[in-house]
C-alpha cells in the first residue's frame, strides 16, 4: 500500500492494515444486513407480518439470524484471513 523502497518498513504493518480493512468491510456488510432486513420486511403493515419461531420475520432475519451469521463470518475471517504475528518489536529480527 505504501511505497517505501528506500527504507525497510515494519513487515507487520501491511498485514495489520489489511486486517483493519477487512474489519471495515465486515462492519459495512453487517450494517447493510441489519438495516435491509429490519426496514425491508418491517415497513409493511403489522397485519401482514409473517412470523418465524414466534418472532416477526423482520426481527428474526435482522437481529437473530443476522447475529448468528455475523458470528460465523467473524470466525471464518479470523480463521482464514488473520495472521498470527509477534507483537514485540525485538522478535522481528530474522523475519523476511
Amino acid at each position: 500500500m505504501h511505497e517505501n523502497k528506500k527504507r525497510k518498513g515494519d513487515w507487520r504493518y501491511p498485514i495489520a492494515h489489511r486486517e483493519a480493512w477487512i474489519g471495515i468491510a465486515i462492519v459495512l456488510f453487517h450494517f447493510a444486513w441489519w438495516y435491509g432486513f429490519a426496514y425491508g420486511f418491517g415497513s409493511k403493515p403489522v397485519e401482514s407480518y409473517t412470523y418465524i419461531l414466534g418472532f416477526p420475520a423482520w426481527f428474526f432475519y435482522s437481529c437473530i439470524l443476522g447475529f448468528f451469521f455475523i458470528i460465523i463470518l467473524v470466525i471464518l475471517v479470523v480463521r482464514f484471513f488473520f495472521q498470527d504475528l509477534p507483537l514485540e518489536s525485538d522478535e522481528e529480527g530474522d523475519r523476511p
Partner: protein, 487 residues
C-alpha cells in the same frame, strides 16, 4: 429484606474481594509497578480480554436502563441495541495489531501515552487528560448512583449505607489489585452477565407462555410494539442508524475500551477475543433487551420502566436464583466503575504527574501515589454520589459521546495516517468536544440523528484540514515520529 436474594449477592461480593487480594500478591512481586498496576503487565488471554471489554462496555444501561426503554418501546429498541454487536469485533480489528505493536514500541501504558508519543505535544496530552478526567469522573459518579440504588432496592438498606457497601467493595479490590484484579473480576462478571441473561430470558418466556403468545399479547396492546418503529412510531430509520456511530463504530474512541486493545498477551489472544467478544456482546444485548420487551406481557403497566429487570427477576424466578441474576447488573455496574476508576487515576498519576510534575519520581513513591490517587478519586466520587448535583447526571449522559467525538480520530488516524499531526489532533479534540456539547444543548436530534453524528464528522474534517494546514510546523520532529513508529 429477602435473605434468599441477599446471600448470593453477598457471596458474589466476597469472591470479588478475594480476587483483589490474590491480584495484590502478584503485584507485590512486580518489577514495574506502573505497568502492572495500570495495565496488568500486558498478559490478558483471549477469554479474559473479551470478557473485560464486554464487562467494561456493558454498564448499568445494558441491564437496567436499556431493558427499561425496551419495555416501553418494543422490538424497535432491541433492533437499536443489536447494533452493538459491531463493537464485539470492530474495536479489535481497527485498533487491533497496529495499536498493540505501536504501543509496545512506545512502551505506552495509557491511551494518553500513545497520544503523547504520536503527537509530541504537551497540549494534546493536557487537553486529553482533562477531557478524560472530567467526562469519566462524572460517568463514574452516575454508575455509583446506579449501583447504590440497586443494592438499596434489593436489601432495603438506606441509600447512603447502600452506597457505602458498593463503594467499599469496589475500592478495596481496585486499590489493592490494580488492573489485574479489575480484569479478573471483569472476566467473572462477564460470565455472571451471560448466565444472568440466559436465566432471566428463559424465566420470562416461560412466565409469558411462550414467544408466540407474548407476541400476540404485545400486538393486542399496541401493534407498534412489534414493528421496528417503536411504540409511538418515533424510531425513524435515520435515528436508529445514527446509533450505529454512538454505540457501534464510535466505541473505538472510548479510552476505557481502547486501553484493552493494548493489554493483550499475543495475537492469538486477540483472535480469540474477537470471536468471544462478538458472541458475548450480541448475546447479552439480545437477551436483556428481549427480556425487557417480553416483560411487558408478563408485568404490564409498570410506572417506572427502569425497575423492570429487578421486578421481573423477583417475579419469574425463585428467590435464590433471582439473587444470582441480580448479581448480573451489579457485575455490570461494578466492572464499568472499576475500569473508569483506574483510567481516571492513571490519567492523573501517569499522564499528568509523571509527565509534567515529577518525571523522576522513584518507584516506591509512584506506588504510594498510584494507590493514594485511586483511593482519593474513589472517595471523591462517593461524596459526589451522596447528593449528586444535577449537572453531573446531565454531564454523564453525554460523557461517552463526548469522549468518542474527541478521541476517535486522533487515535484511529494517528495509527493509520502518516500526515496526521499535533495541530490536527488538537483541532479534532476541540471540535469534537465543543460541537458535541453545543449540539446536545442547543440542537439535540439534529436532522433526526443522535447528537454524536455531526461532531464525529466535524472532528474528522478538523483533523484532516488542520493536519494539512499545520504540516510545515515541526517538520523535522514529525518525520522522526513517522520513522520511529509508523514505518
Amino acid at each position: 429484606m429477602n435473605l434468599q436474594v441477599i446471600i448470593p449477592l453477598l457471596i458474589f461480593l466476597i469472591i470479588i474481594f478475594l480476587i483483589g487480594v490474590f491480584a495484590s500478591r502478584k503485584l507485590a512481586n512486580s518489577s514495574s509497578f506502573v505497568q502492572d498496576y495500570f495495565l496488568g503487565g500486558r498478559e490478558l488471554g483471549g477469554l479474559l480480554l473479551a470478557m473485560t471489554m464486554v464487562a467494561t462496555y456493558g454498564s448499568a444501561s445494558s441491564f437496567i436502563g436499556g431493558p427499561g426503554i425496551a419495555y416501553q418501546t418494543g422490538l424497535g429498541w432491541v433492533l437499536l441495541a443489536m447494533i452493538q454487536v459491531v463493537t464485539g469485533y470492530f474495536v479489535l480489528t481497527i485498533l487491533g495489531k497496529k495499536f498493540a505493536i505501536i504501543a509496545r514500541k512506545m512502551k505506552a501504558i495509557t491511551l494518553i501515552d500513545f497520544l503523547k508519543e504520536r503527537y509530541q505535544s504537551k497540549w494534546v496530552v493536557l487537553l486529553s487528560a482533562s477531557s478524560i478526567i472530567l467526562f469519566l469522573f462524572s460517568a463514574m459518579a452516575a454508575q455509583w448512583i446506579g449501583g447504590a440504588r440497586l443494592i438499596e432496592s434489593i436489601t432495603g438498606l438506606s441509600y447512603i449505607s447502600a452506597l457505602f457497601v458498593f463503594a467499599a467493595s469496589v475500592l478495596v479490590y481496585v486499590i489493592i489489585g490494580g488492573f489485574r484484579a479489575v480484569a479478573i473480576t471483569d472476566g467473572m462478571q462477564g460470565i455472571i452477565m451471560v448466565v444472568g441473561t440466559v436465566v432471566i430470558l428463559a424465566g420470562t418466556i416461560i412466565a409469558g407462555g411462550g414467544i408466540p403468545t407474548i407476541m400476540s399479547d404485545l400486538m393486542a396492546e399496541n401493534p407498534n410494539l412489534i414493528t421496528p418503529f417503536g411504540a409511538d412510531g418515533s424510531l425513524t430509520p435515520l435515528y436508529v442508524s445514527s446509533f450505529w456511530i454512538l454505540v457501534g463504530v464510535g466505541v473505538v474512541g472510548l479510552p476505557q475500551v481502547a486501553i484493552r486493545a493494548m493489554s493483550y498477551k499475543n495475537s492469538k489472544a486477540m483472535h480469540a477475543a474477537l470471536i468471544i467478544g462478538t458472541i458475548v456482546v450480541g448475546f447479552i444485548m439480545l437477551g436483556m433487551h428481549l427480556a425487557g420487551v417480553f416483560g411487558r406481557a408478563v408485568l404490564p403497566g409498570l410506572d417506572t420502566p427502569d425497575t423492570v429487570m429487578p421486578l421481573l427477576a423477583l417475579h419469574v424466578l425463585p428467590g435464590w436464583l433471582a439473587g444470582i441474576v441480580l448479581a448480573a447488573p451489579m457485575a455490570a455496574i461494578m466492572s464499568t466503575v472499576d475500569s473508569l476508576l483506574l483510567i481516571v487515576s492513571s490519567s492523573i498519576v501517569k499522564d499528568v504527574y509523571l509527565n509534567y510534575i515529577r518525571p523522576d519520581a522513584p518507584e516506591k513513591n509512584i506506588k504510594r501515589i498510584s494507590i493514594g490517587v485511586t483511593a482519593v478519586v474513589g472517595v471523591l466520587v462517593f461524596f459526589m454520589a451522596i447528593d449528586p448535583p444535577a449537572f453531573l447526571i446531565t454531564l454523564n449522559l453525554f460523557a461517552f459521546g463526548g469522549l468518542e467525538a474527541a478521541f476517535i480520530w486522533p487515535v484511529v488516524l494517528g495509527l493509520y495516517w502518516k500526515a496526521g499531526n499535533a495541530v490536527g489532533a488538537l483541532a479534532s479534540i476541540f471540535t469534537g468536544v465543543f460541537t458535541y456539547i453545543g449540539i446536545t444543548i442547543y440542537y439535540p436530534d439534529a436532522f433526526g440523528m443522535h447528537s454524536v453524528v455531526i461532531p464525529v464528522m466535524l472532528s474528522l474534517l478538523a483533523y484532516i484540514m488542520c493536519s494539512i494546514v499545520g504540516r510545515n510546523r515541526k517538520r523535522q520532529e514529525h518525520q522522526e515520529i513517522i520513522n520511529k513508529y509508523l514505518l
